[in-house]
C-alpha cells in the first residue's frame, strides 16, 4: 500500500489537486493532506481506489463529481461536499456548510456533527448501484432534501432534542426517503412531502448506514437502533403533474 504525504500549507487548490491526481496515477492507496485550510475542490472529478485523509478544514465542493475514492476530513467542511458525486465515501469529523450532497447520485457521505441549509437537495438515484446516502450525526437547517429524486438522508440528532427545527423539509421531493430522529412537526414539511410510518422494515433498511456511521466516529449504535424516527417520503412521484394544461 503506497502512502503519499502532501503538505498543503499555503498551496492553491489547482497544484494541490494536480499532486493528488499524480499520486493516484502512480498507484497511491493513501494520501495524507496536512495543513489544509479551505482549499476548494479537493478530489474534484477524481476516480480510483484511494483514501485521502484531509487534516484541516476542507473548502467548498469537496469530492465534487468524484467517483470511487474515500475522503476522510479531520475537521469541518465548507459548502457542498459530495456535490454531484457519483461514488465513493466522504467522512467528515466535524460539521459541514450548505448544500451538502447536492445532486449526489451515488456513494455515501457521513457528517459527524451538523449541516447547514439545503442538505441533500436534489439527491437522486439510478439503478441498484447508484443509491446515495447522507448520514448526519447532529442537526440540519432548513430545506433538507428538497427536490429529492432518490437516495436516503438520515439525521441522527445525537445530543439534540429536535435535530431539524427549520421548515421546508422535502419540498418537491419525488423520490427517496428522509429519516429524522424523533418527532418532526407537520408544519416543517415542504409541499409534496408526507410522513410515513417508520417501522421495523425501515429500521432494517437504515441499520447498516447507522452502523457504518458509528464505526467511522467510534460510537455505539445501540442507542440509535430503535423505531423512534420520522420517515418523510414523496406524496407523489409526479409533483408537477396536474399543474399544467395544454395550449
Amino acid at each position: 500500500m503506497k502512502k503519499v504525504e502532501i503538505d498543503a500549507k499555503g498551496m492553491h487548490y489547482t497544484p494541490l489537486n494536480k499532486m493528488i491526481r499524480e499520486a493516484v496515477k502512480n498507484g497511491a492507496k493513501e494520501i495524507i493532506l496536512d495543513n489544509v485550510i479551505g482549499q476548494r475542490f479537493i478530489a474534484d472529478g477524481l476516480k480510483g481506489d484511494v483514501t485521502i485523509r484531509i487534516n484541516g478544514v476542507a473548502g467548498g465542493d469537496l469530492g465534487m463529481f468524484m467517483n470511487g475514492p474515500t475522503c476522510i476530513v479531520n475537521g469541518n467542511c465548507d459548502h457542498a461536499p459530495g456535490n454531484t458525486m457519483d461514488g465513493g465515501t466522504i467522512v467528515i469529523h466535524g460539521s459541514a456548510g450548505d448544500a451538502v450532497a447536492h445532486s449526489m447520485r451515488g456513494g455515501k457521505l457521513f457528517v459527524e456533527k451538523n449541516i447547514g441549509y439545503r442538505g441533500g437537495i436534489h439527491m437522486k438515484q439510478y439503478e441498484e448501484d447508484r443509491r446515495p446516502a447522507l448520514v448526519v450525526g447532529g442537526a440540519s437547517h432548513a430545506f433538507l432534501g428538497e427536490y429529492m429524486a432518490g437516495g436516503l438522508i438520515i439525521v441522527l440528532g445525537i445530543g439534540q432534542e429536535n435535530p431539524v427545527m427549520d421548515r421546508g423539509i422535502g419540498s418537491g421531493i419525488h423520490g427517496g426517503m428522509i429519516v429524522i430522529r424523533g418527532e418532526v412537526k407537520d408544519e416543517l414539511l415542504g409541499v409534496g412531502a408526507r410522513k410515513m410510518e417508520f417501522g421495523e422494515k425501515e429500521l432494517e433498511m437504515i441499520t447498516p448506514y447507522v452502523e457504518e456511521f458509528c464505526k467511522h466516529f467510534d460510537t455505539e449504535p445501540s442507542g440509535l437502533l430503535d423505531t423512534n424516527y420520522t420517515c418523510i417520503v414523496p406524496a407523489s412521484t409526479r409533483p408537477f403533474a396536474g399543474k399544467y394544461t395544454w395550449e
Binding site: 487548490y13 489547482t14 489537486n17 494536480k18 491526481r21 476548494r40 475542490f41 474534484d44 472529478g45 476516480k47 467548498g60 465542493d61 465534487m64 463529481f65 468524484m66 467517483n67 459548502h79 457542498a80 456535490n83 454531484t84 457519483d86 448544500a99 447536492h102 445532486s103 447520485r105 439545503r118 437537495i121 436534489h122 437522486k124 438515484q125 439510478y126 447508484r130 428538497e146 427536490y147 429524486a149 432518490g150 418537491g172 419525488h174 423520490g175 412521484t237 409526479r238 409533483p239 408537477f240 403533474a241 396536474g242 399543474k243 399544467y244 394544461t245 395544454w246 395550449e247
Partner: protein
C-alpha cells in the same frame, strides 16, 4: 351551463377530386386526424396541429389546411387567443403550457436593421477569388502577447493561451436535450456539426452512447438538475456549458414528464425509468455570482483546465451587468438566449412575456464588456430566434462572436413549428420518443439537410461580408458602423449604438 367547444384552430379538407385513396395521410398523422370508414376518409380537424406531415406526404397535393376557419367578432384587445386562453383556464384552473418560442407579434429588431455595402470608395470583395476568414475561436483571448526573441532569431511566445474552441463557421447548434428531442434528431445534428466543422450542445439530458463518436463536436451541458452529469460526461465534451437560464422561460426550471423518460432516456439522464426529470429553477449550489464562479472553477478543476466553460443566461433586463460578472468568473463564453428562443414546453405566460430581444441584449452585453475593458476575457454567443444569415451577420455586427441556432436546424429536418413538442407525438420524429415516429427520421438524410443549411448560411455570410469589403469575421464583430436602424426609436438605437438610416 357548459362552456361548449371553442372554434376549430385548423380546418383540414381533402380535395376529393384529386385524392387517389392511397391512405398515406391516415398513416402519417400521429394525432389521428384521418381515419377510414368504408371507402371514405373521415377528417377530424379538431385534432390537427398544422404539423403539415400529411400535406408534405400527399402525392396529389389534395390536402388543404386553413387556420381559424371560424371568425370571432373582431376586437383589437380581446383577440381569439385571449378569449380561448381564458376559456381553457376557466375549465382547468391550470398553467397553460406551450411549445416553441415567443408567439406574440412584438416588432423584430433584426428586421429593422439594414446592413452596409461598399460602393466606389472601397471595393467590395468577391469571396470566390479572395479568401474569406470565417473561422471563429470561442474562448478567452489574452490582452497582449509576451514574446521572447532569441539570439538566433527564433521567437517564443511566453503568454500561456487558454483553450479555445475552433469553429469553421460562426454558426453552432444550441442545446436541445435527448429527451426533449429524439435520438435520431440529436444524431442528425451531431453528424451535421461534424461535417461542417462546428459544435452543438447536448442539452441537459446527458450524452447517449450513440453520440460518443461525435463527442469532439459536443458542448456538454450542466443544468440545475445535473442529469447525466458525471466526470466521464464532462471529460467527453469539447466544452462544458452551465445553463443558468433559457430565453423561452427565464427564471424557471424545467420538467421532463415521466412519459418521456423511456429506457434509453433514463440511462442517459441517469434517472429511474418513468420518473419526472425536474430541473429546479436555480442551481441550488449557485446563489450568487461568487457561487457561479465556484461552479465554473469546479468544472475546470474536474477537467484539469483543459476545456472552455460557457455560461448560458436568458436575456433579461440586467443581462449586461450579469454578463460582466460572468466574464470575471473564469468562464470562457457567455451565451445570451433571447426571448424568442425555442423550447419544447414552456408556460405560455413566460414564453410570451418574460425577457428581452436578443438584438438589444447582445449589443448591451458587448458594450458593457468593452466599457469595462474585459471584452477579450469572454466570447459572446447570441441565441434565440435566429432565422437566416442576415440575422447572423447582424448579431455579429452587434457584438456576438458566434450564434447558436435551434429551431432553424429543426426546420431543416422537417419541423413546421407547430408548437406541440410537449405532447411527444411529433410526426417528424423530432420531439418524440415513440419509436415508430423516431424511425421516420433518417439521420443520414437529415444530417445532410442540416449541414446544407449551415453551409448555405456560411456562404451567404461570406457574400454579405465581401459586399461590405470585410474579409474576416473579426472585422465584422461589433462593427456597428456597418448597421443602420430603419424606423427604430431613439432609445433602441441608443442601446444598439446604431445610427438611423441616412445618418
Amino acid at each position: 351551463m357548459s362552456l361548449g367547444s371553442v372554434p376549430l384552430k385548423y380546418k383540414v379538407t381533402i380535395d376529393r377530386e384529386q385524392c387517389m385513396h392511397c391512405m398515406r395521410c391516415i398513416n402519417n398523422c400521429s394525432y389521428g386526424v384521418f381515419h377510414r370508414e368504408d371507402d371514405r376518409i373521415i377528417i377530424d380537424s379538431r385534432k390537427c396541429t398544422a404539423c403539415h406531415h400529411c400535406i408534405s406526404m400527399c402525392p396529389r397535393d389534395a390536402i388543404s389546411l386553413q387556420e381559424r376557419p371560424v371568425d370571432y367578432r373582431s376586437h383589437p384587445l380581446w383577440t381569439a387567443e385571449a378569449r380561448e386562453d381564458i376559456i381553457n383556464q376557466a375549465r382547468t384552473g391550470k398553467i397553460i403550457l406551450a411549445g416553441m418560442g415567443n408567439a406574440k407579434p412584438y416588432p423584430v429588431i433584426f428586421d429593422r436593421l439594414v446592413l452596409d455595402a461598399c460602393q466606389v470608395t472601397n471595393p467590395s470583395i468577391d469571396p470566390l477569388r479572395e479568401p474569406m476568414e470565417l473561422r471563429t475561436y470561442i474562448g478567452k483571448k489574452p490582452p497582449r502577447l509576451e514574446i521572447d526573441k532569441k539570439d538566433n532569431g527564433d521567437i517564443e511566445m511566453l503568454t500561456k493561451l487558454t483553450p479555445n474552441l475552433k469553429l469553421e463557421t460562426p454558426i453552432m447548434i444550441g442545446h436541445m436535450s435527448y429527451g426533449a428531442i429524439s435520438l435520431n434528431a440529436q444524431l442528425s445534428l451531431a453528424k451535421a456539426v461534424e461535417k461542417t466543422g462546428t459544435f452543438m450542445g447536448t442539452g441537459e439530458g446527458g450524452l447517449h452512447e450513440a453520440i460518443y463518436p461525435y463527442q469532439k463536436n459536443m458542448i456538454v451541458q450542466v443544468a440545475s438538475g445535473r442529469f447525466g452529469v458525471d466526470i466521464n460526461y464532462l471529460e467527453r465534451g469539447a466544452a462544458i456549458e452551465i445553463k443558468i437560464g433559457q430565453g423561452a422561460k427565464p427564471g424557471i426550471g424545467g420538467h421532463l414528464p415521466g412519459e418521456k423518460v423511456c429506457q434509453d432516456v433514463s440511462c442517459t439522464r441517469m434517472i429511474p425509468l418513468g420518473s419526472d426529470a425536474i430541473s429546479p429553477a436555480p442551481h441550488h449550489d449557485i446563489y450568487s455570482i461568487e457561487d457561479l464562479a465556484q461552479l465554473v472553477r469546479s468544472l475546470k478543476e474536474a477537467t484539469e483546465w483543459k476545456k472552455p466553460v460557457f455560461v448560458k443566461i436568458a436575456a433579461v433586463h440586467n443581462a449586461a451587468a450579469i454578463a460582466a460578472g460572468i466574464a470575471r468568473s473564469s468562464a470562457d463564453a457567455v451565451v445570451i438566449d433571447g426571448f424568442r428562443g425555442g423550447s419544447g414546453a414552456t408556460p405560455k405566460v413566460f414564453r410570451d412575456n418574460v425577457g428581452i430581444p436578443i438584438e438589444a441584449a447582445v449589443a448591451s452585453v458587448d458594450q458593457k464588456l468593452k466599457d469595462q475593458g474585459i471584452r477579450n476575457k469572454i466570447s459572446v454567443i447570441a441565441s434565440g430566434g435566429i432565422r437566416n444569415s442576415a440575422d447572423i451577420a447582424k448579431s455579429i455586427a452587434l457584438g456576438a462572436d458566434a450564434v447558436y441556432i435551434g429551431t432553424g436546424a429543426l426546420i431543416a429536418m422537417g419541423c413546421r413549428v407547430c408548437g406541440q413538442c410537449y405532447r411527444g407525438m411529433c410526426p417528424w420524429g423530432i420531439a418524440t420518443q415513440r419509436q415508430e415516429l423516431v424511425d421516420r427520421l433518417d439521420p443520414e438524410i437529415e444530417s445532410e439537410h442540416v449541414a446544407n443549411l449551415i453551409r448555405s448560411w456560411t456562404l451567404e455570410l461570406s457574400e454579405l461580408m465581401g459586399a461590405a469589403g470585410i474579409n474576416s469575421i473579426e472585422s465584422l464583430r461589433s462593427n456597428r458602423s456597418r448597421l443602420r436602424g430603419y424606423m427604430l426609436d431613439e432609445g433602441t438605437l441608443d442601446v444598439l449604438q446604431v445610427k438611423p438610416v441616412g445618418a
